[in-house]
């Protein structure tokens, strides 16, 4: 575990982990087989180690990761819930894992049926008419949703709607996606309860606005109580409402974006629906729409023709393809397995427990840390290290580093931007009370240490393989490649 040497540094000339068998075909001169340009002039500098050293090296690397399988991971807005292993079993069924996307439709009816059924189930969960499972991740879903919004306005002869309204508490992906999709962004402020400021919204609405992007509950973990009024304001001015599903883990089976007035929704299967998250994916960001927007969905759409499933490409108003083949299929299978194993009651129970867990931690910690919006939270909440910063010079950054020493993944820090020294904590529903209590205890301990011995807190982590990095150097002059000296 404490072995820090790179595999290149473990290398000893001539050491071998395996013996190749004798060559049993006539040897050929390489120069006759491969053009001169492609033949290397020097030996490749591959590490030379024994088998056991190679195994230990990679085992040590795997142990340096922190995943939800190794410990608590309260990374706000990311819903790092446990990924049930039954999902993996089902995704590995031959019928799902050994098909080819170019196979004829009659040979992959089961896969198409699964896509069709997942569409129906997610439509029911979100209150939408249809879902496209194609986008490969959340931001891709945002981009697709905004393309649909643009196509809708243009088809109605309202191509002048080129602006998107986004609250100041939004995820950074929202303005980024809007700009990528060719829109200009207007930011609206939050009110003192953490919701959208209605007066700012009214003032921003006009015939140039295509729509509003909103996360509800928002990034403060707060449910916007004015959502129906917000929807009315946007709709009356001719705009559409886009629901960023990043925080859908708070509402499954309880409330539906469609009923709140949203027209377009994206979900993150890798958050809410328990497919693996982190490490670069793959993710899945399905996009759902209300009835009047269905013609604009990406092609293909899986349809049911009397019990036979097919991919419908004949959709003249479609925004077109957004992904090769049909989304990240294996991820969709895992989400399907999750929904089927949970059932409607189970999904509701998951959201209720996620909300309960977040409120429990919030209440236990609100005397130790500043709680800027002190009201019932949803599946996550935002604390501030402002008290520790002002009195002892201990920042959210330092607190995060101390959590590493306790074996915890830190919460999301310095986001949302509207809270100073923000620490955004999302426990999810899959953690036991004992795990939550352990985390609470560690957080309380850090708060006490910050008061008693701030310098110690600022020096953490002490027990990780690598201590505190020079963040400036890491950002400006990162060394990402090992090179032999001399």
């Amino acid at each position: 575990m404490k072995e820090k040497k790179l595999i290149f540094e473990l290398s000893q000339p001539g050491r071998r982990g395996d013996a190749l068998p004798q060559c049993d075909v006539p040897e050929q001169d390489i120069n006759r087989l491969i053009p001169q340009d492609y033949i290397r002039e020097s030996e490749p500098q591959l590490p030379e180690v024994s088998e056991v050293d190679a195994v230990r090296h990679f085992t040590a690397l795997s142990q340096r990761n922190h995943g939800v399988d190794s410990g608590f991971y309260p990374l706000g807005s990311c819903t790092m819930k446990y990924n049930p292993k039954v999902n993996e079993d089902i995704a590995r069924f031959d019928g799902f894992s050994k098909v080819h996307p170019y196979q004829q439709e009659e040979m992959v009816q089961g896969c198409l049926e699964l896509l069709y059924r997942t569409d129906k189930m997610l439509s029911e969960i979100t209150g939408m008419a249809r879902i496209s499972l194609q986008p490969a991740a959340g931001a891709h879903g945002e981009m697709t949703g905004l393309m649909i919004m643009r196509a809708y306005h243009e088809q109605r002869g309202e191509g002048q709607r080129t602006k998107i309204i986004i609250p100041d508490s939004a995820h950074g992906t929202n303005p980024a996606s809007a700009v990528m999709a060719g829109f200009d962004v207007i930011e609206v402020t939050s009110d003192e309860r953490g919701g959208v400021d209605l007066e700012s919204l009214k003032a921003a609405m006009n015939e140039e606005v295509a729509g509003l992007m909103l996360t509800n509950p928002n990034t403060l973990g707060l449910f916007d109580e004015n959502i129906v009024e917000i929807a009315n304001i946007v709709h009356e001015a001719g705009g559409l409402l886009y629901y960023d599903g990043a925080n859908a883990n708070a509402i499954m089976g309880i409330s539906r974006p469609g009923d709140m007035g949203f027209d377009i929704v994206h979900l993150n299967l890798h958050k809410t629906f328990s497919t693996p998250h982190g490490g670069g994916g793959p993710g899945s960001g399905p996009v759902g729409v209300k009835e009047e927007l269905v013609p604009f969905l990406p092609v293909p759409v899986v349809e049911d023709k009397g019990g036979t499933y097919f991919q419908d490409y004949d959709r003249p108003l479609s925004v077109g393809r957004v992904k090769s083949f049909y989304g990240n299929f294996g991820v969709i299978v895992k989400a399907y397995a999750y929904i089927m194993s949970m059932g409607a009651e189970g999904l509701r129970n998951a959201s209720e427990t996620a909300v309960l867990n977040a409120n429990y931690i919030m209440n236990e910690l609100k005397n130790d840390y500043l709680l800027p919006y002190d009201r019932l939270c949803m599946h996550e909440f935002v604390l501030s290290a402002q008290k520790q910063k002002d009195h002892f010079g201990v920042s959210a950054w330092d607190i995060a580093k101390n959590l590493l020493d306790g074996g915890y993944h830190p919460p999301t820090i310095y986001f949302p931007l509207i809270v100073k020294e923000a620490m955004m904590i999302e426990p999810t529903e899959t953690e036991s009370k004992e795990t939550l209590d352990g985390f609470i205890e560690k957080m309380k301990h850090i708060a006490q240490e910050a008061a008693k011995d701030p310098e110690k807190v600022k020096g953490a982590p002490y027990h990780t393989v690598i201590g505190r990095l020079d963040e400036v150097k890491a950002a400006r002059t990162p060394v990402l490649k090992w090179e032999r000296l001399g």
């Binding site: 950054w397 820090i413 986001f415 400006r476």
Partner: protein, 127 residues
């Protein structure tokens, strides 16, 4: 937090130093302190037209990236290229480290900005 007399300030924590019809823009001591160690500055192009409140660059720290908004409309006439190699100057000397200079379209826009006293009060309200 240091606030200098004689400069104008925006609610987005930018400072403005007016020289003739030209305004030098930077971020305040409060802004650099809130952002933490600055590692990257994206400068505007010289000659670029900017509207009041439009983004003219990005300041990135180890914690976050923030747009730099021009509180004044005009044309970018100078950029501080030194910051490309030494963005940490903004942390060290926020009021020396101007990011860009804008030739003003409308000097009346300056009236929308705060003086030092008002900015100090604004900061107290933020805390």
């Amino acid at each position: 937090m240091k606030v200098l007399e004689g400069l104008k300030y925006s609610k987005d924590h930018e400072w403005v130093r007016v020289e003739g019809n030209k305004a030098y823009l930077g971020i305040t001591d409060y802004a650099q302190s809130a952002m933490g160690n600055i590692v990257f500055v994206e400068l505007p192009e010289e000659g670029a037209e900017v509207g009041e409140g439009e983004s003219i660059g990005v300041v990135e720290s180890v914690k976050s990236a923030s747009d730099l908004y021009s509180p004044l409309s005009g044309v970018v006439v100078e950029i501080n290229e030194e910051l490309e190699d030494m963005p940490e100057k903004i942390n060290q000397e926020p009021y020396e480290s101007w990011i860009a200079a804008v030739e003003l379209n409308n000097a009346e826009e300056l009236d929308n900005l705060m003086g030092a006293d008002d900015y100090i009060k604004f900061l107290e309200g933020e805390a």
